[in-house]
């Protein structure tokens, strides 16, 4: 189970109403390499992974939900009280007619989130390597979003999230080293 702390992992400040930026950011909400994919991937893989790395998947998967909330907050603030006309100008008319101002799990092109974005292969090496790749792809996505964003306060939060991807990648790489270690050799066959 989880305990909930009613605060964000890192503050989210948004300088101006900017639905277009929200359209780009939604990639990290419901996109293939987004935070929802990450959280669900890790928390699902943990059941069948060797005991030594279950805790890592548990902790990182949980943190991904904290990131998901931050992204949701950003998207919400960027679009809150925007007029239908403003949303239309930002290319969000299709989103508006389907969802009004509600958030939804899709990528910036409007494709709904799908479980095909994630995998649980059951082979510990394959699963952890997928996780490393996912962290690097998320890091890249943050870079490209920062490149198209000129909101300095939002970019500060995005840089925090990019840094967390780096730390997670490092931890998953350490998990591979743990899985490679020769200890716990089977002595009786």
């Amino acid at each position: 189970m989880w305990y909930y702390e009613k605060k964000l992992q890192y503050p989210v400040k948004v300088r101006e109403c900017n639905p277009r930026l929200a359209k780009y950011l939604i990639e990290q909400y419901g996109g293939a390499d987004g935070e929802l994919s990450a959280a669900l991937r890790y928390l699902n893989q943990r059941y069948t992974i060797p005991g030594k790395v279950i805790g890592l998947l548990n902790d990182i998967g949980t943190e991904e939900f904290a990131h998901l909330e931050m992204i949701a907050t950003m998207v919400y603030k960027l679009t809150k009280d925007a007029s239908p006309e403003q949303l239309k100008e930002a290319g969000l008319a299709p989103h508006y007619v389907n969802h009004d101002g509600a958030l939804f799990y899709h990528n910036s092109a409007g494709n709904p989130w799908t479980a095909e974005y994630i995998q649980a292969k059951g082979d510990p090496i394959a699963d952890i390597y997928e996780d490393i790749a996912a962290e690097e792809k998320a890091r890249a996505t943050y870079q490209w979003i920062i490149n198209v964003s000129d909101d300095p306060e939002l970019n500060d939060s995005l840089r925090f999230l990019r840094e967390r991807e780096i730390v997670h990648s490092q931890r998953f790489r350490e998990a591979v080293e743990i899985l490679k270690e020769e200890r716990d050799k089977k002595t009786i066959f």
Partner: protein, 72 residues
């Protein structure tokens, strides 16, 4: 620098597990995990036929895989 092709772990077994618990589980750790950049002049199989059948020129990269349960 030798390594095993397979690792074993001992999953937690609950007193309430309905299926008969498997107390030792294994997973493959094939050689590419350990090699880094392949060293030059790595020993090759003795005959081309052996290499062909193994799928690699180099015994150090060969990973035997047995059907689960057939392990010796």
């Amino acid at each position: 620098m030798s390594h095993t092709n397979k690792k074993y772990w001992y999953p937690y077994v609950s007193p309430y597990d309905p299926c008969k618990p498997i107390t030792v589980k294994s997973y493959p750790t094939p050689p590419q995990l350990y090699m880094g950049f392949q060293p030059p002049n790595l020993a090759q199989f003795e005959t081309p036929k052996q290499a062909l059948f193994h799928g690699t020129l180099w015994p150090a990269l060969y990973s035997k895989y047995d059907k689960r349960g057939d392990e010796t």
